[in-house]
Amino acid sequence: MAGDALLTLDRVRVDYHSALGVVTALPDLSLTIRRGESYGIVGESGCGKSTLLMAILGYLGATGRVSRGRIDFDGIDVGTASREALARIRGRGISIVYQDPNAALNPTLTIGRQLVEVPMLHEGLDEAAARQKARRILSDVHLPDPDAVMARYPHQLSGGQKQRVVIAMALLANPKLLLLDEPTTGLDVTVEAAVLDLVNELREKYGTTLLYISHNLGVIAKVCDRVGVMYLGELVEEAPVRELFAHPRHPYTRRLLACVPRLDTDKHETSFLPIPGQPPALAARPPGCPFGPRCAGFEERCAAGPVPAEAAGDGHAVRCLRWREVDGFDAGANEAVRPAPVQPETVLEARDLSKVYALGNAFFGMGATRQLVANEDLTFDASKGEILAIVGESGSGKSTFARVLAGLQDASGGKLMVLGQDLSRLPAQRRTLEQLAAVQMVFQNPDATLNPSHTAGFSIGRALRKFGIAKSSRDVETQVHELFDMVRLSPELAHQKPGRLSGGQKQRVAIARAFAGDPALLVADEPVSALDVSVQAAIVNLLLQIQARKASTIVFISHDLALVRHLADRVVVMYLGRVMEMGPVKSIFAPPYHPYTEALLAAVPVPDPSVRQKHLRLQGEPPSPIDVPKGCRFAGRCPRRIGPECDATPPPLRDAGGGHFIECHIPIEDLRNAAPVLGPEG
């Protein structure tokens, strides 16, 4: 690794000026990135990660300002650079890959036009030479048929392809420093793994320095050499990646790591350790250590003044006055969660459940020959007090199942029994109050679930009245109070409109609303995937506690395998509308694996650089659910495809014992011989 600095931030302060006054996003940040290294910054939303990137690029908008310090890139001060110098830096020095490739590409220009303008502007190439170069870079990012890609518009590409185009666009300028702003957030896990592989490969090929920003510790562990942990605009800890994950010293880092679900433990063995409280607003920055008010080891001296960085090892710096004693005050498992025991009574029973959409011609309304198979032959059940997880990538049909279960859509075939009654073709408006109360939902996006013009308490009160649980206004008020208590929200928040609540608080309200009718079955469709990891941990703990108390059954729909590993009792793995594998949670995460599950596990970014993970990548993208393959749905991408029967005949359902079933042509014995995906280094 080269030792000289490429980017130096020296005591940088960034303020945002608005009509309401000045808000400091980065109070005093010093950071050095050396040539050739890959530096990761991890932090939750609002910690100033994006402000940092925009400050480096000199693009803070009309309100942002670097009010102190110096940002030095390759010998040039970005803060005082002229417009021309800044344009040169942006084009040739630093480029950036954005979080959302859909937004980053211009929808009205072809990919080719958007690519060639970079070398034409910065290298003065003519169009033919620029196209030549764009073509070469597109094949470097493994996009097949570059010419066809260049002729297309962004909406004609998939999310993963678009992100490859954005990476290609960033590399076209031969940047010295590549900034990556959560480049895989929003992508499916197998696509994410492929993009991360690409980043690592390109880094070796071009020797580009990387500054990688993410909230995902697993992703950081995979691609970075050094890591900085950011909280409220301050770098609270900085260390080489292995050192940081092995010996975290700052209480915030430790809590963050304790909030991350892991593939090797579950709810019976460990509980998440959420961070108490919420991060303060930028305008209300606490004096001294920013983490002080939420820290278990807070003492008066922590708030006395700025906490200096101390060396805690080789290249390991930590801003904590008590880092030597951190083991003492931060060890308590104060939030032990007792999971519910699974009871024999069956609550949910799906038998050959199917949902098929006929795609007709909109004008003539007939001749609907094409079909979109969203769910096919789903057969599984869930018992009282059980958490059944349904996992799969986008387009696997998880949410369609949830919609049928909630009565938002009718099934096309099969049965769906809840407490002995078939609800498969009973839309919500025809269900009885008992049936409605029995099945309740929590959705992914808490912003969209709560009516913004009613108070949080009103939404819950309406559910209580509707289900006849509370009659008088006083009853409603006491019950709302109790429900708020149950989800650990201050009852005053019942009078707030959702707009004034944080994402985590909104999701707590949504959970309280769902539990208002005392449901036998709760359908949770990606309930925490939009939340920060520390908030996610708190919500998951809460959900487990309530579930244990009420012995309710939860259908937990998620794409996050580590989270599913933590909280589920049984798991159903879906691909293109069909169940590939199902069984008790432990058996899913150990051989025998279905080849698809194996590939998913190999793709999960593990927040531990010392874990060895099998390298297994799926080719291409999931095929369209229209006109699905005749044989095994997964045959086209399967790394273990054994022959033409995979394409031609549907695979048999094989019993691996103990309630573990795998739908595959490969015999169980052969699948059992697969090496575990995760193992210790060696």
Partner: protein, 337 residues
């Protein structure tokens, strides 16, 4: 694209039939009848009754509607032109030809003699106004939206709000007060009559100015809003962070995207300018289409109302077709099927 246009044309015909029938049916509820209107208020009741019989006005609605449609398509002779009625209604084109809208009882002339000159007058006014409104509002809107919150943006936005909120009759009176009464540079009325002592172009200036003031403010604000939104999009940031200069970012990346939303609104102004400028035409005594519709409606001249409805509808649907096609050309995510 061709199939799309053909389908649109079919739906245009369907709409025309439905609309003309509706207008026909609604005028049923107005007092008096064609026979009375043809003969005037001083005719004897028994004369009216005779004409009523001869024209078959006691037939059911559907029969009369088919008769009217037959005249329009040139399958039937116009009953009002029957010399046996002694009305002296004559159409130089004959009494049986395709596109025969019948006889206007208000103007006592064939509809085709009345309507096209009125439409032409309004089209002149609308065309000039449109040719000024579009480039003016695009330029101002883009300039304002390009740097949201700048002094230029604020000036243009305030101009837009003020000019839209002054009604046409008010701005018409202001302009007349300044340019006619005080300065005496322009005529106060615009009958498009060369004999009035003012050249035709000078008669057009004030009506056009009123329309531009009223309409441009609205379109400017639409364009500005769309432009400002686009300037905050991720791909515009991408373009800046590629190191492209402001000019290139605006011209290459922002402009086309910013045009998508206002495009439809801009084309809708054509409909407004053709059939919605009654007030301006009244203020300046302009012999236009809008005023003619108003007069015909007040009088109950069903032949003229029907003709005007069909023409206005055709224009509206044609602009919609153009706007759909243009929308698809601007936005590659839309394909016309």
């Amino acid at each position: 694209m061709l199939r799309f246009a053909a389908r649109r044309l079919a739906s245009l015909l369907l709409t025309l039939v439905a609309a003309s029938f509706l207008v026909f049916a609604v005028t049923e509820f107005s007092p008096s009848n064609v026979a009375r209107k043809t003969l005037g208020p001083f005719a004897l009741q028994n004369q009216v009754d005779i004409l009523y019989e001869k024209l078959g006005l006691s037939d059911p609605l559907l029969v009369r509607y088919t008769r009217w449609a037959g005249v329009l398509l040139g399958l039937k002779a116009d009953p009002l032109q029957d010399p046996a009625l002694n009305l002296n209604f004559k159409d130089p084109r004959g009494d049986k030809y395709f596109g025969n809208f019948g006889y206007s009882t208000l103007y006592k002339a064939p509809v085709n003699d009345v309507i096209w000159s009125r439409l032409g007058a309004t089209a002149t006014l609308a065309g000039i106004a449109f040719a000024i409104i579009v480039p003016l509002s695009l330029a101002l809107g883009v300039l304002a939206g390009m740097r949201e919150g700048s002094a230029l943006d604020r000036t243009i936005s305030v101009f837009g709000i003020v000019s839209t909120s002054i009604p046409e009759f008010a701005s018409g009176v202001f302009l007349v007060a300044i340019f006619v009464v005080v300065l005496g540079w322009l005529p106060g009325t615009s009958p498009l009559d060369p004999g009035s002592g003012w050249p035709i172009w000078s008669q057009l200036v004030l009506p056009v100015a009123v329309l531009v003031l009223y309409d441009a403010g609205y379109v400017v604000r639409m364009v500005r809003g769309s432009m400002a939104e686009v300037m905050n999009k991720g791909y515009v940031r991408t373009a800046f962070l590629k190191g492209l200069p402001m000019r290139t970012v605006v011209m290459r990346h922002a402009l086309r995207n910013a045009m998508i939303a206002p495009f439809t609104v801009i084309l809708l102004q054509i409909n407004f300018l053709i059939s919605g400028v009654v007030v301006t035409e009244m203020v300046f005594a302009y012999p236009g289409f809008g005023r003619m519709i108003l007069d015909a409606s007040l009088f109950g001249d069903i032949a003229l109302i029907e003709a005007a409805t069909l023409i206005a509808l055709t224009i509206a649907i044609a602009t919609q077709l153009v706007s759909d096609i243009g929308y698809a050309l601007l936005n590659p995510q839309i394909s016309l099927k």
